[in-house]
Each structure stands twice: as structure tokens, then as C-alpha cells.
């Protein structure tokens, strides 16, 4: 099969192409990172970041690369779970 990291990069670039038309640069970065955070399963985000670290991410569009670098911590930090219902 094709390189999974490259496929995820292609998907991320597609997301980037939608937000590229946002004139407010910070909002565009937030839009890309927010979409990855809200819609991508953690292992996909991990795999993309791993691929980025291994390859340098040259296949990513500059905007997507900047979005990931700017919001990297948010993309890799797990959402905290609620306490058990009985403990609430």
C-alpha cells in the first residue's frame, strides 16, 4: 500500500486548501488545526506528526505545516476523560 503518512499529508493538504481562502491568517491556522483535532482519530494525528518528524513534511503545504507546528501541542494532547459516573 501507499505510504500512510503521505496519504494523511494529502488529506491534511485538502483541509488546508479549504482554509487557505480565510484572509485572517491566524484563523486559517486555527481552522486547519481545529479540524484535525475535531475529526481525526488520535492515531491518525500521531501518525501525521511522526511522519512529519521523520520526513520534514516537505509534501505538506506551507500553510498546513505552519498550522501543525503552531498547534502541535493541541494536536497531540489527549482530551481528559470524565471521572467515573459513580465518583461524580
Amino acid at each position: 500500500m501507499s505510504d500512510p503518512g503521505a496519504k494523511l499529508a494529502r488529506m491534511a493538504n485538502q483541509i488546508g486548501s479549504f482554509f487557505a481562502s480565510e484572509p485572517d491568517h491566524a484563523l486559517a491556522l486555527e481552522g486547519i488545526a481545529g479540524h484535525l483535532r475535531r475529526f481525526w482519530e488520535p492515531r491518525m494525528r500521531r501518525q501525521l506528526l511522526l511522519w512529519l518528524d521523520e520526513t520534514g513534511g516537505s509534501e505538506l503545504s506551507p500553510l498546513v505545516l505552519e498550522a501543525i507546528q503552531t498547534h502541535r501541542e493541541r494536536l497531540s494532547t489527549p482530551t481528559p476523560r470524565n471521572p467515573a459516573p459513580a465518583a461524580r
Binding site: M1, P4, K7, R10, M11, Q14, I15, S17, F18, A20, S21, E22, P23, H35, R38, F39, W40, E41, P42, R43, M44, P78, T79, P80, R81, N82, P83, A84, P85, R88
Partner: protein, 943 residues
């Protein structure tokens, strides 16, 4: 014939507002002006004898049986064509009327076979009833004169017969075909005694008839008669239920004899269909008892082993142990499941609950992933709710109808009939589609504009339409500024106003002449009420979500939201795809479209379900396949979805399924996916269980059990039993209890219960304290999200491009006779209309390749190849080819690619670069079944 014991008021309900009081046989009646005397009499409890009148058709006044006497008027007017007037005094029963009616009946019966005792309509025949009502005792004319008793019967249609010897030429069939269905396939040929009903001089099968059944339903005799009634006789009881085919969600009366369905008749009070049906819902239900049904659970260690028939307990125990083993070995996230848009809301709810609470992750997805997931994303982002804005009735008030990437006469035929009726009343039509769909031109319907764009350029067209509206000052600025986020609106206006979005600039991209785009934009923007209807031709693109957003932008900027006649209307594909999405089938959303990361929302579920839920989004279907091939996703529970036929890039899907250690398929037939399964759990059809479906207009309708489950279990019971084995018991005695749980956890469903559904017939969500009877039209005062959100929709060309090696663009769709992957319809007589998938090819492209009509061709893309017959047609434009994916023998999705929508991963089925060449004939399996299906079926059934 109408359904047994169904009341018929004779003429349609009047829409008049002023009230009229009149006296009928001494009873005072109050009715709206415009009401017929016949209908008013019906309201007074008086059934005036009739034959040519029925309340689904406009009054015709031909049979002369419904004559009445009106004080102060001469003669005997027909009650069906006479409208009520203030103070009228009417007599429906007098000696003179009785004499006249008997005379009329005598003439009818003198040319009618006297075979009542052996006639299939015996027991449900209006002619027979009227003979009794008028007291006919003799036929003075005898039966030896000229008559039609030897007229030849037409049995060419697989579902009904036409026996002209029994015809009274009341024209109800002709009028039903015109007024209800809008096909105009029938006519009355000849004059006077020679008048006969004709399907255009052909037999029914060869005619323009679309077998919707409206004529059969309207026939007051046995002239047009269902073959099942001829074979099995009249039913002994009726169960109201909801059709399990497309997203229109028609209400039906299942007529049953013992446990056997003998007829399905559309329910006149059904709000989605108002008594109409299509060939699938009306006739193609025989699959439910087809010999291929698998009714016992089966297991096997390896997909290369033969199936082993086992009991429920062993199958469920094995399934649970395999899931546990996979999770123990590969982790909690290594398993997941797919809910079915063909199953009920309650069943879908349970599958996502099992995955979230039992499996402990959010790896749940549904077939909406491959159809309308961009609708969910786009409408949520712009309007605030992942659903269509209107009810179907809304189209009755529309002045300009825009149909984008949808083929309603094939995909949503009952709604299409309603839409065509509105067009015949004078509404204008704009079609945006690469293909010349039937609506572009057919009897009494012609599109004002057909923007025949190149596949993959929807967003460019939408931007060009918006450019014209904004730059020519046609926008409803007051609406947009009052109801929407003004900063976003201004940002969007500036974007679409750029020259690069003008029709002249985009013509090179879309192939659509600028003048046509400008004309269409002016027509839509100038409409008092403009409505947009769209289908998978919008969503199944790499910019599917962008196009849904663009559609919402167009509706907002023209003020076409929040009232009858307008709106953004996704035409949903499968019967319960709206419901499956509502019920939390997406991996990033809990039921009610609430993100899994919302701790407060999770807490409400956790309190009731007694577990801590995963706060991270799960895998979507294509992500599951990728993870399977990477070795991190190893088990899947698939309820009612044939992913190995319906999903794109099938080689990839096959490899992913083969890489899994546990594939559980719950379905009514073995299918392409079950070839990769280790456990097969036999599911139930919609006739075998209770529940609800939610249609494209957010209408929740009851599904009622008509016959016992052939396997002994309904699908909701199977999921509960599997959960029990997994150590997460979910106990319900009846699906109504599941709905109660849904209502307790979904704010848009708090007012929904089986009792309320029985009371109201159906309910459109949101249904809660604010809207206790439901919500036909959304966003009336304000958008669900508050202010409408305009979003910039830059056109980005798909990466799937034509090349010298693949110079044509393939787009896919569906046909009237079949539904989705055809698992149901291929097991009915519907294969008579469409026995195989064919490739539509423009004659110019065919000539270049030396291909003649009907020849076998190879269809090849960069990912796969299939073979099918060519059909030369100018429906498609040069450079574009088209096929359906109803037949597994073709496996059309072998050629579709893994390109997908940027936001949702919805596959780009509608754009695949291909080459077409002449080819040798495809090896054929049993008609309608793939070689694999046939082999599997033979192995299981010992054939």
C-alpha cells in the same frame, strides 16, 4: 384498488378558508368553500355512490352515478363536480335518483363479466359494491350485444395485470398517471363505445409506465390488479408501517394474510407520500421471503473455510470472545463497527451505544460516510443543524426549484412526482447536473436552464451563481444582514464578487456558457420562493462539504430560508440515513450531533450508561480500512451495510477486510462483505420488527412488525444479545423503551415517544417542549446556530484529472428499479427493468473507440477495471461516462478511487478518470447475483 376498508371522501380536500354551511339529507354540514358536494356528504356520514371519483384525484364527472338533487336547481348534478354553496339543500337519496343510478349501473354491468365469485377483486371491488348499493337486480339489455368481454389481458408487467374486459373506462388510471405520478403513460383511445385505456398503444412493460402502482390503486374494478392478490387472495388484516427503501420514507399499509404479506399499499394519510408510491416500495418487497435469506447464524475460523451453521448462543459467544481477544491483543481501539441506514433508529442507537460503551471507543461510522456526511458538516457549519430545512410539502409553495446533483425521478420518485406536479402548476426549474436527467425534459416538464457542467466543478458553478446575485444587486441584503453574521457575509460577498468567480471566468472550468449561468442566477434570485434540492452529485466530491456550504450561502443570500417554499433540501439516499446520523453514528459526535469532546454532554450519557466514554473522535470507515492495513484495527461489527460493494476502491477495501481477524456481518443475505466475514448473524427485514425510521424531511415514522422474524431475532435483539456476551448488558423489552432512552438523552427528541407517534402519525424533529408537535420547517425566527454563517468557498479542482491514458470522466448514480447495492431489488422482478449495470457513453466517444451500442467494454481507472455493456446516449456529454453500482457482478466501485471530501472523507464517487475500450464478454453468473454470491448462496442453502 385502494387498501381494504380505506375511507374515500370522493374528491380532494379543499384549501379554501371561508366556511360554508349546507344541508345534506337533513344534516347540517360545515366545510371549506371549494369543497365538493360529494366530499361534504362524506363528512356528514353520507356515502354518495360513485365510480369515477376518488379523493386522490380531481373530480371528473363521467360516471353519472353520484347524481344528487339540489333544492332550487333543475336536473341532477354530479356531486363530485358540484361545489358547495351557502345554504344549499341537497338530497342524496330519492326514488328518482335511485332509478337513475340503477340505470347507470345496468349499463356498466351489461358490458362486464359476471364472474364476481372468481374475480380477484371479490371482497374489495367498488363496482361490486356500487351494484349492491344501488340495488341492481337485473340487466335488461342482456349480455349478447356488442361488448369487450373478449378483450385480451395484458400480463406483461411483472407486478400487475391489465384486463380490459373488466374496464369501465372511468379514467381513474389515466388521471392517476397524470395527476399523481406525472408520467402520462396512459390515455383513453377511441370514442364512445370504442373507448379503451391504452398504454400508448404498447403493452405495459414496453410502455412509458414506471410501475408506481398509482393506476392499480385507483382502479375501482379488477381491471388493474396486483398479481399477488390474484395469486393469494384478499388480506385479512392491515398493518401501517414505513417503507425501507429511499429517504422519502413513504407510509404504507401492509396487507397481510396470516403472516404473509399479500400487498403493500401507500397510506393516504402518510405525510411524506400522501398515498403515492414507487415501483420499489409498492411492489419490490418479495426479497423479504426470498430463498436466499439466511436465517441461522454461522461462524468460521478462516474466511477460506466453509460456513458452519450454529445456534444463536454459540454464534454470539464466539463473536464476543473474538472481539475481546482482539482488544486484549491489539488494544481497545482495535475494534469498531458500522451502523446501518437500513435499520431502525433504535437499532442504530444500540450499535453506537455498544461501540461507545461496550467496546469503549468511538470507532463507529455509518454509510452516510459515503453519501451525505458532507451535508452534516456543511449545514451544521452554516445553519447550525445537520439536516434539511423543510418538509416535502414545502415544494408546493416554491416558484423556482433548483435541482443539483440529484435525479429525483429515479432516486426519490415519490417526491419527484410532487415536484413535477408543482412544475406543471407553473414553477420554474433549474437543473445543475453533468447528465441530462429525466427532469430536464419530459411530458409537461422542461427545465428553464440545464447547467450541464463538467463533473467536479460544482463549487465553481455555485460561486458563479453567487457572483451574479451579488454583483447585479439581486441579493436579499436585508435578510442576510438581519439573520446572518454580517462580518462573514461581507467577507463572502467580497470573495464571490471577484472577477475570477464570474460566469465568464468560470466557463472555462465548468463548460457551462456564462449566459446560462447568469440567466439561472437571475431566475433563482428573482423568485418569490426559491428552493434548492440536492443529492449525492453534490456531496460525493473532494469538495462535497464546500458545495453544501455554497448551497447554504446561496439560500441565505437570497433570503430563501425559514418559511414554506424555500430552503436547503438534501435528498437522502437510504431510508434511515438521516436517522442513523441523528442517532450518533459518526465517530466524532454523540447522538444529536454533539461533539465527543464536550465533557458535559458525555456526562449525561455516562450517567445513564454507567461507563466513562472516550473523549476522542474515532475512526471513520476509510480510516478503519487504512488502520486495518497498518495492523492497528482488527475487528469490525457491520450491521446491514455491504461495504465490499458500496465503498470506493474495492481492492483496498477487500485487502483491509482480509487483514482483519474478526469480521462480524449482520445482514439478511450473504453479500460481498460476508466473503470476508468470520461470523454471520442473520438480520431481519423491516417487515419483521418494530422501530422507527427518519426520512429526509426529519420525519420520524413508525415501523411496525408485520410478520415474525425469520431468524427468530430482530436486529435490536441481536445487538443486545451481543452486548450481553461482551459483559455490557443492555436490556429492553420493546423498541419503544429504546426510543424512551433516546428521548431522554437527545434535546431534539424529548417529545418523541411511540404513544405520540401513534397519536400524530409521524413527527418531524426537533420535537420538545418548545415544539411539542414537531418542526416542519426549521430556522424560522433564527438559525439554530443563532446567526447564519456565510463561509468562503474557494473552488479547488479535484486531484483526479483526465490524462491521455484516462481521458474520460466517470460519474455514477442509480436507477429507478434498484436501490443501493441492489441486495433487495435484485431479488425481485425489478431486474426485468435493469438486469445489469451498463455504461452510458456519448456516441462521439463511442465512435472514436469503435464501440457500438450493447457491446461489452472495459472500464479502467488507475485503481481497477471492470467490464460492462455500453449504452450509447446523448444523456451524457462527450468526455463523460456514467454507470450505476447496483450489481455486484460489475463491481463498479473497483474503478472508483480513494479521493474523498476534504472535511468528511466522503468518497469522490462522482469523478473518476477512466478509459473505455471494446472488450470480450464478461463471464456471467446467475442473473442479478455475482459469482461469489451465487456460490455462497449455494453452499449455505445446499443448492
Amino acid at each position: 384498488m385502494y387498501s381494504v376498508n380505506e375511507r374515500d371522501a370522493g374528491t380532494p380536500e379543499s384549501t379554501g378558508t371561508a366556511l360554508v354551511i349546507l344541508d345534506i339529507d337533513g344534516v347540517l354540514v360545515i366545510v371549506p368553500e371549494g369543497t365538493s358536494v360529494m366530499r361534504a356528504a362524506s363528512k356528514a356520514g353520507v356515502q354518495v355512490p360513485k365510480l369515477c371519483a376518488t379523493d386522490t384525484l380531481e373530480a371528473f364527472g363521467s360516471c353519472r352515478l353520484c347524481l344528487v338533487e339540489i333544492e332550487g336547481r333543475r336536473g341532477f348534478p354530479a356531486s363530485c363536480t358540484t361545489q358547495v354553496q351557502q345554504g344549499m339543500k341537497i338530497r342524496t337519496q330519492t326514488p328518482k335518483l335511485a332509478q337513475l343510478r340503477r340505470g347507470v349501473m345496468e349499463l356498466y354491468i351489461s358490458d362486464h363479466p359476471l364472474d364476481c365469485l372468481t374475480c380477484p377483486a371479490n371482497g374489495n371491488c367498488e363496482l361490486q359494491d356500487m351494484a349492491g348499493v344501488v340495488g341492481l337486480r337485473e340487466v335488461r339489455y342482456g349480455f349478447k350485444g356488442a361488448n369487450h368481454l373478449e378483450a385480451e389481458k395484458d400480463a406483461s408487467n411483472p407486478y400487475f395485470t391489465f384486463d380490459p374486459s373488466k374496464c369501465i373506462v372511468c379514467s381513474r388510471c389515466v388521471r392517476a398517471c397524470e395527476e399523481v405520478q406525472g408520467t402520462f403513460a396512459l390515455t383513453v383511445e377511441g370514442r364512445g363505445f370504442d373507448s379503451v385505456i391504452s398504454a400508448g398503444g404498447k403493452d405495459f412493460m414496453e410502455s412509458e409506465c414506471v410501475s408506481c402502482g398509482a393506476c392499480v390503486q385507483a382502479c375501482p374494478t379488477a381491471t388493474l390488479m396486483e398479481k399477488t392478490i390474484i395469486d393469494k387472495g384478499q388480506p385479512d388484516h392491515v398493518v401501517k408501517t414505513t417503507c425501507a427503501y429511499c429517504g422519502v420514507g413513504c407510509s404504507f399499509r401492509a396487507e397481510v394474510k396470516g403472516n404473509e404479506v399479500v400487498r403493500m399499499v401507500p397510506e393516504k394519510t402518510g405525510r411524506a407520500n400522501e398515498g403515492h408510491s414507487c415501483v420499489k416500495g409498492r411492489f419490490a418487497w418479495g426479497y423479504a421471503t426470498h430463498k436466499d435469506r439466511v436465517t441461522t447464524p454461522m461462524i468460521r475460523k478462516s474466511v477460506d473455510d466453509p460456513w458452519q451453521v450454529v445456534g444463536w448462543a454459540e454464534a454470539l459467544r464466539y463473536a464476543a470472545s473474538e472481539i475481546k481477544q482482539v482488544q486484549a491483543k491489539y488494544g481497545q481501539g482495535a475494534v469498531g463497527g458500522i451502523t446501518s441506514s437500513r435499520c431502525t433508529n433504535e437499532e442504530t442507537w444500540l450499535v453506537q451505544k455498544l461501540i461507545r460503551a461496550g467496546f469503549g471507543n468511538n470507532n463507529v461510522d455509518t454509510c452516510a460516510r459515503v453519501c451525505h456526511s458532507p451535508t452534516g458538516y456543511g449545514l451544521k457549519a452554516t445553519l447550525g443543524e445537520s439536516a434539511g430545512t423543510q418538509d416535502f410539502e414545502s415544494v408546493d409553495y416554491t416558484d423556482v426549484i433548483v435541482v443539483i446533483g440529484a435525479n429525483p425521478t429515479h432516486g426519490h420518485p415519490v417526491f419527484a412526482s410532487r415536484l413535477k406536479r408543482r412544475l406543471r402548476e407553473g414553477a420554474q426549474l433549474i437543473v445543475i447536473d453533468p447528465r441530462s436527467i429525466d427532469l430536464v425534459r419530459q411530458p409537461h416538464v422542461a427545465a428553464a436552464f440545464h447547467l450541464q457542467l463538467r463533473p467536479g466543478t460544482n463549487v465553481a458553478i455555485a460561486n458563479a451563481l453567487a457572483h451574479v446575485i451579488v454583483t447585479e444587486g439581486l441579493a436579499d441584503d436585508a435578510f442576510a444582514r438581519a439573520r446572518c453574521d454580517v462580518a462573514q457575509y461581507d467577507k463572502w460577498r467580497a470573495f464571490v464578487a471577484e472577477d475570477r468567480n464570474s460566469p465568464e471566468a468560470t466557463e472555462a472550468i465548468t463548460g457551462v456558457p456564462a449566459a446560462s449561468v447568469r440567466g439561472a442566477a437571475r431566475l433563482f434570485a428573482g423568485a418569490r420562493n426559491g428552493a434548492i434540492y440536492y443529492g449525492l452529485g453534490v456531496t460525493e466530491h473532494s469538495q462535497g462539504s464546500t458545495m453544501v456550504i455554497a448551497i447554504a450561502n446561496l439560500a441565505m443570500c437570497t433570503g430563501n430560508l425559514g418559511r414554506p417554499g424555500v430552503g436547503v433540501n438534501p435528498l437522502r439516499g437510504q431510508n434511515n440515513v438521516q436517522g442513523a446520523c441523528d442517532m450518533g453514528s459518526f465517530p466524532h459526535e454523540l447522538p444529536g450531533y454533539r461533539h465527543v469532546s464536550d465533557a458535559g454532554v458525555r456526562a449525561t450519557f455516562e450517567d445513564l450508561w454507567g461507563v466513562v466514554l472516550d473523549p476522542e473522535p474515532g475512526l471513520r470507515i476509510p480510516n478503519m480500512f487504512d488502520a486495518a492495513l497498518e495492523g492497528t484495527f482488527k475487528a469490525i461489527y457491520v450491521q446491514g451495510e455491504d461495504i465490499a460493494q458500496s465503498d470506493p476502491d474495492l481492492r483496498h477495501v477487500d485487502a483491509a477486510l482480509r487483514a482483519m481477524e474478526c469480521v462480524i456481518v449482520q445482514d439478511i443475505f450473504l453479500n460481498e462483505t460476508s466473503k470476508f466475514a468470520h461470523i454471520f448473524l442473520p438480520g431481519a427485514t423491516f417487515l419483521e420488527k418494530d422501530g422507527t425510521f427518519t426520512n429526509a424531511e426529519r420525519r420520524i415514522g413508525r415501523v411496525r412488525k408485520v410478520m415474525p422474524s425469520l431468524s427468530g431475532m430482530a436486529d435490536w435483539e441481536i445487538t443486545c444479545a451481543l452486548a450481553q456476551e461482551l459483559g455490557y448488558p443492555m436490556h429492553y423489552d420493546h423498541p419503544s423503551q429504546i426510543m424512551d432512552e433516546i428521548a431522554s438523552l437527545m434535546p431534539t427528541f424529548t417529545g418523541v415517544s411511540y404513544a405520540r407517534l401513534d397519536e400524530l402519525g409521524s413527527i418531524q424533529w426537533p420535537c420538545n417542549a418548545a415544539t411539542p408537535d414537531g418542526t416542519p420547517i426549521m430556522h424560522v425566527e433564527e438559525f439554530v446556530r443563532g446567526k447564519g454563517n456565510f463561509m468562503v468557498t474557494e473552488f479547488v479542482a479535484t486531484e483526479e484529472r483526465v490524462t491521455p491514458m484516462f481521458p474520460l470522466l466517470l460519474t455514477t448514480g442509480r436507477i429507478l428499479a434498484h436501490y443501493n447495492v441492489g441486495a433487495q431489488t435484485r431479488r425481485t422482478e425489478n431486474v426485468r427493468w435493469h438486469a445489469e449495470d451498463v455504461l452510458e457513453l456519448h456516441p462521439h466517444d463511442a465512435e472514436e473507440r469503435g464501440i457500438r451500442d450493447g457491446e461489452w467494454v472495459s472500464l479502467r481507472s488507475r485503481v481497477g477495471e471492470t467490464r460492462l455493456r455500453a449504452q450509447l446516449t446523448e444523456r451524457v456529454q462527450p468526455g463523460v461516462v456514467y454507470t450505476t453500482f447496483h450489481h455486484p457482478v460489475t463491481r463498479a466501485n473497483v474503478v472508483t478511487t480513494d479521493y474523498s471530501d476534504w472535511a468528511t472523507n466522503c468518497p469522490e464517487y462522482k469523478v473518476t478518470a477512466v478509459q473505455v475500450r471494446r472488450a470480450a464478454q464478461q463471464a456471467q453468473a446467475e442473473p442479478g447475483l455475482s459469482a461469489g454470491e451465487a456460490a455462497d448462496a449455494a453452499a449455505v442453502h445446499g443448492k
